[in-house]
Amino acid sequence: MRISTRFKAATAAVLLTGALAACGDAGSDGDDEPKVDAETVDEGKFEEGTYMATLAEQGTVNVGVKYDQPGLGFKGAADDIPSGFDVEIAKLLVADLGIDPQDTAKVNYEETISDNREPYLKEGRVDLVLASYSITDDRRKEVGQTGPYFVTGQQVLVKADSDVASIEDLAGKDVCSVTGSTSIDRINESGARGVGFDSYSECVAKVLDGTVEAMSTDGSILAGFAAENEGELKVVGDEFSEENIGVGYSLEHPEMCEWINGVLTEAFENGDWADAFERTLGPSGVETPEPPTLDACPA
């Protein structure tokens, strides 16, 4: 009797999941974004006791991404899932665990801002961070970081009719970026004056209304804004810094590093990486570069 009740419950659960999945499919029919499908996880794919095995078994995962960086991690008011290059790479990782990256019931794309990425990883609130997360020695003291899956550098965004050709032309002048970001420090080091706002879109507003002559941050982000305001804004100058964007994980699960690197290497080789790049950063005019060289995992 007891067994049969369980059997009924299990059947009901399976049917219900099927129905929900069908609903999910119906909802995303209109999207032209290619779906990243969950891979089937064979028995023994992840070694017993590894965190990947735990995640694959529980079937849910929390991923920290940015919500406010067009092209990298951006979530509009009406979006279920954020979009961007960071998110696409996150989907590849999630899919490798055998979890459907489109299913928000299983994958929680938590917003992580710059200040809470390390605390969230340490508390276990998120399992992975892909939030334009520059790899630095100081951060590696606290959390695991591997990659980079993307190398970017800082450029300058000015009005289309501006004479400014590079950051050197802006010495002593106000250049906008996000308060407390690495970009602000680089601006100050270059001789210009970094003025901080809450988000990059606010900086765009300040450049457009002429209060601030230029803004500066990673070229990929600027390209997105230049494309959004075509004819009004342009990206100028060479990259004057180098940021290595990597994946964050908790130091409690060092085994994740090899797995992340494995998934990234596979994506580099089978073209998924380049494909994700073209779909997210391609439209704003950034050329798809060669995949970067991954750091070796700490032994």
């Binding site: 710059s114 100081d138 106000d174 003025v195 606010e202 300040k206 209060t211």
Partner: protein, 228 residues
């Protein structure tokens, strides 16, 4: 804590901006607050209504929105502070600083007005009547008789308002002024492993400023008490 101690200059520079914002906005908000309270307790109905409306609107609006108005909306209508460009060493007081001072002053003045009004209400009506009886005009009644007593009564609430202002200057961090909180965020971004120490260092900075200010306010309160 070490990152801050090893690189103390940004810390000092940050609090220099915090203090400057406080001094400018503190003085301007007090002046404007006095004008507002004069309007609110004055005999002219239109001014009374205008003062009350101002207090209602500004006091009920979050400071961030007022900041946003002066940094994002006002420039569209041509209200810019581009003429402001004072450079003293590393400290640059530019248009963004100007917008911050204006936002903070307008916001705080509503609270100054109400703090003063509570003091005015504490002055017995007979005082104003007596002042009128000896032939003083409204300005004289206010200046010579009512306000001196009202200010004494409102030193504690006024001090609270100004202390709130000291801490409110931190909103300017995300409106282009590199004050203490903005510097703190740079520190926590670069030295994420030292976050707690950095928070404590910056909290100490604010505590010191507020303590110095409230020490002054307490002394003032005591002196006034003797005089009455």
């Amino acid at each position: 804590m070490d990152p801050v101690l090893n690189d103390f200059q940004p810390y000092l520079l940050g609090f220099a901006y915090t203090l400057l914002l406080f001094v400018f906005a503190g003085v301007l908000s007090t002046l404007l607050g006095v004008v507002l309270v004069a309007m609110r307790v004055g005999p002219v109905a239109v001014l009374r209504a205008a003062g009350a409306t101002y207090v209602t609107v500004v006091r009920n609006t979050p400071l961030v929105i007022i900041f946003g108005f002066f940094t994002f909306v006002a420039p569209i209508f041509g209200v810019k502070f581009g003429w402001l460009d004072i450079r003293i060493g590393d400290v640059v007081l530019d248009d963004l600083f100007g917008a911050a001072v204006v936002a903070l002053s307008l916001y705080t003045s509503a609270f100054v007005c109400e703090a003063l009004r509570s003091g005015v209400n504490a002055v017995p009506l007979g005082q104003a009547e007596a002042a009128r009886a000896i032939g003083l005009p409204f300005g004289g009644v206010l200046r010579e008789v009512v306000l001196p007593q009202a200010i004494r009564a409102s030193v504690p609430p006024l001090a609270s308002v100004q202390i709130a202002l000291i801490k409110n200057t931190s909103v300017a961090a995300v409106f282009g002024v590199a004050e203490a909180v903005a510097q703190m965020r740079s520190f926590t971004n670069n030295f994420s492993s030292e976050r707690t120490g950095i928070f404590i260092m910056f909290a100490i900075g604010y505590v010191v400023i507020v303590e110095v200010f409230s020490f002054g306010a307490t002394r003032l309160e005591r002196r006034y008490r003797v005089a009455t």
